[in-house]
Structures are given as C-alpha cells and as structure tokens.
C-alpha cells in the first residue's frame, strides 16, 4: 500500500482513494465556510472544528495513520489545544484591559457592534482551534494503539 504504482492493480480501495482525494479539500473548505459564515447562517467554531477534524480523520482512514501524521503532525496538537483556549480567554482578558467586563466585546472597538464582531470572530477562532485539535488528538490516541486493521478483520 505504501507504493501506489506497485499496488495499483491489486488495491481494492482505489475508488475510495480517488473519491476521498477529491472530497477531502472540499470538506476542509466547507469547514472554513461554516466558520466564517457563522454570523449569517447556521454554524460556528464548534461545527467547523469538527468538520475540519473530520477531513483529517477521513484522510487517516483512507490513506493510513502514518500519512495523516505527516499531513497533520501530532506535535501541532498540544499547541493547538492550548492556543484555542488561550485565544478565547485572552479575548476576555483583553476586553478587561480595555475597560469592560470579562468577555464584554463591546469595548474592543470604537463602535460597540464592531467590537462585538471582532470579539465573536476571535472567540470562534479559539473554539475552532481547540475543537479541531482535540478531535484529531482523540483519534490519533485511539488509532495509534493498535496495528493497522487488515481488510479481512472486519
């Protein structure tokens, strides 16, 4: 499976791989649409984070955990998890320093509603980072504990 040219004829998952290769970028793109369109339609950081993580997990399911760990290194996980929470909390602390209450975004800009926009954007970005990395972390943690499953094992 490691060398696609060698196993091309015998690979039973060739359709799956081709379709997944086409779908994964679209799923990731959709995650960002959900993230940044959350002010106008359904969605937000949490949903976008899960969808973004799902694109990485799909990659891992189809191409193997090793390839996925090259695409999304596990070392990113601990930084992403913490940075997301810090970004959320930091937005609250920033609004503190700018004269408002904790997580009162109105003081972040001259116009109160602009401040709310920036605050919501920052906070949702924090949620996205934490949710994406935690979902991938849980998958990696479970997935790394057993050898790859053979096709007959199901």
């Amino acid at each position: 499976m490691s060398d696609p040219t060698q196993t091309f004829g015998r690979d039973p998952h060739v359709l799956l791989r081709v379709i997944a290769k086409f779908l994964i970028p679209l799923i990731a793109l959709f995650a960002f649409y959900v993230q940044f369109h959350g002010d106008y339609g359904p969605g937000g950081g949490f949903q976008a984070g899960v969808i973004l993580a799902a694109s990485v997990i799909l990659y891992a399911l189809v191409f193997g955990l090793k390839a996925a760990k090259r695409a999304f290194p596990p070392s990113l996980i601990r930084y992403g998890m913490t940075l997301g929470v810090l970004l959320y909390g930091g937005t609250g602390v920033l609004s503190w320093f700018m004269g408002g209450e904790f997580l009162n975004y109105s003081v972040l800009a001259h116009d109160a509603s602009h401040g709310q926009h920036y605050g919501i954007l920052a906070v949702e970005l924090g949620v996205l980072t934490t949710v994406t990395t935690v979902m991938i972390a849980i998958f990696y943690a479970f997935g790394s504990r057993q050898p790859e499953t053979s096709d007959e094992d199901w």
């Binding site: 002010d39 937000g44 601990r78 709310q116 479970f142």
Partner: protein, 227 residues
C-alpha cells in the same frame, strides 16, 4: 403533550408534525435495534444512524444549528471514535444473564416513570408563553439586531450573550483532549524514554519492568521510532 392532542384533532395536523412523529418513531426503532444487537460494529453504525435521524428531526423543528452539530459530531466524528475504540475491544458483546439485568430494569423503569411524571409540567409544544419563549430569550432576539448587528441570533447568544458558557464548553473539550492524551498518549515517546535514578541510567530495555508490558504496536510502527 400537544403533539398527541394535535393528532387526536386532525384539523391541527400539519405535515411537518407528521414528519416529526415519523422521525421519533424511527428513533425508537433504532434504539430497540441497538439494544437487541450483539455485534459492536453494527451497534456503532446504528448509533450513527440514530444521530443522523435525530439531526433530520432537528431540521424539521427548525433547529438547524443543533442539527448541524448533531450530524457533524454524532454521526461523523463520534462514530469514527467509537470504531477506533471498538478495535481495542472485542467485536461482539457477551450476553448478560437475565438475573443480572433485574437491577438495571428497575432503574430504567423508575427513571422512565419519573420522566413521565415530569412531562405534565412541560410547557406545550410551540407554546408562546413557555419559559423559553419569554423572559431573557425574547430579550436576546429583540436586542441582537441593534447590539450585535449580526443576522444569526444563535451565534450572538452563543458567543456574546452567553460567552461564559461557551468558554466553559471550550475548556471542557480541552480537558477531554488533555485526559485522553494523559491516559493514552500519542505514542510519541514509546521506547525512547530515559530515566536516571541514583546515577544509574534506565531506558525501555534496561528497566525492571522491561518485557512485562506487551508491545501492541505493529511491525511498521516499531520500525519507525519517530511516530
């Protein structure tokens, strides 16, 4: 309660309500199938089906944000996580003898009776005077347009009015990830640790516990210590 009342009076039956009832019936069917099934793979798949059907139901209730989350988390990621957890266990659950199920049955019956009792206090479906449709909820809907100026009230409530709650949720997710990483790890240091107690050097092979733990990594993973 009004759901039943509306069915009894056909004049009030709207098509979406019929849809709601069929989704709820499907949920019951799937739940019974899960209870009766022994194959863990089938159970995980049916749980995904359950989430997808409830997501459809949320859409029919106009709760698109909740439906979105349910479809992404319940039907998507948690199915995969359950599958990868299942791979560490057996493929089939062993049947439990009848006499050991009596206690569980009693708990379920008691909890079910308590819930049925509580249904009487629930406000009717779509009631304008219910707690969710008065007080602070109405305030959020009325003030979002002038205070936050974004069209999606759900996002305004989630990220701004109830920012504390969402912060708490983010911390909960963070701690869930932290717990999994502390318990399972990412196999990042397996076999490469070094300890120096009292001047002597210990590593994976020289440790007193060497060989006691079974190495469940694959040949491929063992060949690549960088993982």
């Amino acid at each position: 309660m009004s759901l039943f009342a509306a069915v009894a009076e056909p004049a009030f039956v709207v098509p979406t309500m019929l849809l709601d009832i069929s989704f709820l019936a499907l949920l019951v069917v799937v739940a019974f199938a899960i209870v009766r099934m022994r194959s863990l793979f089938g159970i995980v798949m049916l749980q995904g089906v359950y989430s997808l059907v409830s997501a459809c139901w949320f859409v029919s209730l106009d709760a698109v944000d909740v439906a979105f989350t349910e479809a992404a988390v319940g039907a998507g990621v948690s199915t995969v996580l359950m599958l990868s957890a299942m791979l560490l266990a057996d493929r089939k659950s062993t049947p439990v003898p009848m006499r050991r199920q009596v206690g569980a049955l009693a708990v379920v019956v008691l909890a079910g009776m308590a819930m049925l009792y509580a249904v009487g206090d629930m406000s009717a479906y779509g009631d304008v005077h219910s707690a969710a449709n008065s007080y602070v909820g109405m305030d959020y809907i009325a003030k979002t347009a002038e205070e936050i100026k974004i069209p999606n009230v759900v996002t305004a409530v989630l990220a701004s009015y109830r920012g504390y709650d969402t912060f708490g949720e983010t911390v909960v997710i963070f701690s869930a990830g932290l717990g999994v990483l502390l318990l399972l790890g990412l196999n990042g240091n397996s076999g490469r640790w070094v300890a120096r107690p009292n001047g002597q050097m210990l590593n994976d092979h020289a440790a007193p516990s060497a060989g006691l733990a079974t190495d469940n990594r694959s040949e491929e993973q063992r060949a690549e210590p960088d993982q």
